[in-house]
Symmetry: C2
Subunit: 488 residues, 2 copies
Amino acid sequence: MAKQGESKESKPSEKGITVKKSEDISEWYSQVVLKAGVADYAPVKGCMVIRPLGYAIWMRIQEHFNKVLEKYGVENAYFPMFVPESFFKREAEHAEGFSPEVAWIERKDSSEERLALRPTSEAIMYDSYSKWIRSWRDLPLKINQWCNIVRWETNAVKLFLRSREFLWQEGHCVYETEKECIKEADDYIKEYKSLCESLLAMPVKIGRKTDSEKFAGAVFTNTMEGLMPDGKASQLGTTHHLGQNFSKAFDIQFLGKDSEKHYPFQNSWGFSTRLIGSMIMLHSDDKGLVLPPRVAPTQVVIIPIFREEAREKVLAEAEKLKKALSGLKVRIDQRESMTPGWKFNEWELKGIPVRIELGMRDLESHTFVACRRDTGEKQSYNISEAKQKVSELLDNIQASLFKKAKDSIDARTKKTSNFIEMVQEINQGKWVEVPFCGEKPCEADIREKTEGITSRVITGNISKEHGEASCINCSKKAKHFVIFSKAY
Amino acid sequence: MAKQGESKESKPSEKGITVKKSEDISEWYSQVVLKAGVADYAPVKGCMVIRPLGYAIWMRIQEHFNKVLEKYGVENAYFPMFVPESFFKREAEHAEGFSPEVAWIERKDSSEERLALRPTSEAIMYDSYSKWIRSWRDLPLKINQWCNIVRWETNAVKLFLRSREFLWQEGHCVYETEKECIKEADDYIKEYKSLCESLLAMPVKIGRKTDSEKFAGAVFTNTMEGLMPDGKASQLGTTHHLGQNFSKAFDIQFLGKDSEKHYPFQNSWGFSTRLIGSMIMLHSDDKGLVLPPRVAPTQVVIIPIFREEAREKVLAEAEKLKKALSGLKVRIDQRESMTPGWKFNEWELKGIPVRIELGMRDLESHTFVACRRDTGEKQSYNISEAKQKVSELLDNIQASLFKKAKDSIDARTKKTSNFIEMVQEINQGKWVEVPFCGEKPCEADIREKTEGITSRVITGNISKEHGEASCINCSKKAKHFVIFSKAY
């Protein structure tokens, strides 16, 4: 899929990354995404194209998460992308929260109501829920959808991280009791964390949002936050306990076992293609993309190296090796118009975790050379133990990417109760855990004074054991420990 | 997911289908889709909700077709749903063909161009293609996307068959030579047929469209058509050979092996969630949905039948039976607030291919009773041979649904060269193969004279062996045999 050089002579450097991650992370990031062929800018303002390599990563994420959904009995469905204006306004806080970002379609007919393109689907789904739910026997109702979302943000597109249209999943569940509802809102954020850590090798923090940062219409919001190499936090997923706010607004009622009518409790939760961008920013390097093996659409590329007279022999051996590696995702690059060196650069740029070089000399010694994308380390293995060794290598890469990311994030996670120190640390690319009162006006004050520092996640409540602590800003009694930082 | 009765007392008839397929097929069809919980009308005019049962069928179709895509080296991707007006107009015939159905979004900013919601994605995808394709090495380029599509048709929604928003796949491939391009346009329509026949047990006819019915902007269109029980044809998928029409309009050029610039050849092809509706209309009956086993999200439901004292024993046996059937999609219905009879009706309504009844007497004789959804036939089997017998039963149901549908369609496929007879047959619910000149004005004349009879598919060209034949309408020399009918 990548645009390839016009001839064997074209130099790898022309298509390689031309800036260093440490020097200009924003330009470096765009180059990695574009040149590795993960995504492209669309010709429509504020939009992006997810190219096959990016979409294959999304499909791996879907595959992982569909299994989680099944475990919880959540079923996939599809609701219209059009939300009538009046529905959207039924939950006042919700409507107000989203209104600046909503795109509307032109009316075809003056008698028709104005229609929004979904910025999230609570309003359109819950009207149907109010028809479907009658009795306690219809609960819990657990539905998810994978779909496109439109939020008309004015900012320029930042590939995967900010665009007017993006892909996501949104789960919307309804329960008889608040207890079940809260439990599952908390379970789903843990599942998100597990997806990030086990599949994407991306360490994250989860916890509640402060009131200022919670979802418009929710009782509380759980968030999952990642610290990016540039020191900004990336909000990677949220689960919302909606209480009865929406069931009252949309008149969802059920006849309980007590033969009385009740409003059920609801949660909603989502993560988006932003996961892909954050993962790329975290792991990739000056040579291009670095993909954790578990999410990589291709885990191993075999590059046969030969003079013309040995062609058949080496290719046959490559096929045999591919067969020996069955169960892993392997491709052989036998294109004839590129040199092996050109191919090495290409697959490094595209982040394939393991490259295997296979030449005449290897055939003679019954060995092959495997090169790790993450460290560049090369080692020779016996062909007879290929499956075991390459599997181990992939596991090592997965573990090592996670550890490297975790060490880096731990080193950039600070604690303080001094306001000036907090600001200094954040300006040096860290996120900082501080005691905080939890009040909206105080948080607005912090944001204003610091040009955009916001609370990301509550990491713990302050109980008696911690002694009394004062809020880092207003000096009132602190309620929680909260991570503050800059954010995408 | 289905709305369930408020108590054990509620009668199955209240939730069952209240009209016969033979008496009012349109009302019968809506009731089947709604009451089985496959889909629902949305609160937005012209739109529908695909409920979990319907979406699970769509996921089975996706799973099947993603394997086909892989075989051809077609990769999934995602392009924006917004198409700038100017792009849309680059291929004049294409723009004109779609313009009545296009929905536009309200401009946020007067400097921004008007944006359409994709009615199909040629225009937005091919602009990116013109950036990505430089050399013969970049070809073939084969991309597919699964996405939502918006066509603002004025007609009222007909669940799965006609709605303002629907889901589909659209493949868009680019080739060096016309030969490859045509070959694959023809291959993909064969793959569509194989999907319909092997997975959905739905016999179809494939072939070229006449000029009047081809895609706006195509050189030719292949179509797949099914004959519905009401005698109307349903267009179930199309593949278009676009020639160089779009590569010229979007300035897609590649440097050939001859070092000259060339316009490549393109095809595009798609099928939609309409497949689901047509399949339901074809197989279902007066008791509700009938699902072919290969596409059924649940293939077997086990209903334990017991008095309270035998509860544990029967449930344990049901679990054992489920385990014995591993590899098949089995669920046990152990809900306690419904009677076995209520459950029988429920699962019949929802089209589960095989129902297994398991009671105390069965336990004693080491047998179980299996009931086929399609014929209602019941038979007792030995528990020790459960897996083999139930697998055979599922295969038989699949084959028998296909055969029944094929016999019915064959019996309603007529040939004639007499115009009056053609109209009579079509009005009696048949589709009719006739000699036809192939000319647009003649086809428009037929449509007008008959109030909506259209050509569906060219079944063969008239060669010398057939002798001379005259067009059924204009009496000029006939070029093809063409099936005419009414259509959705």
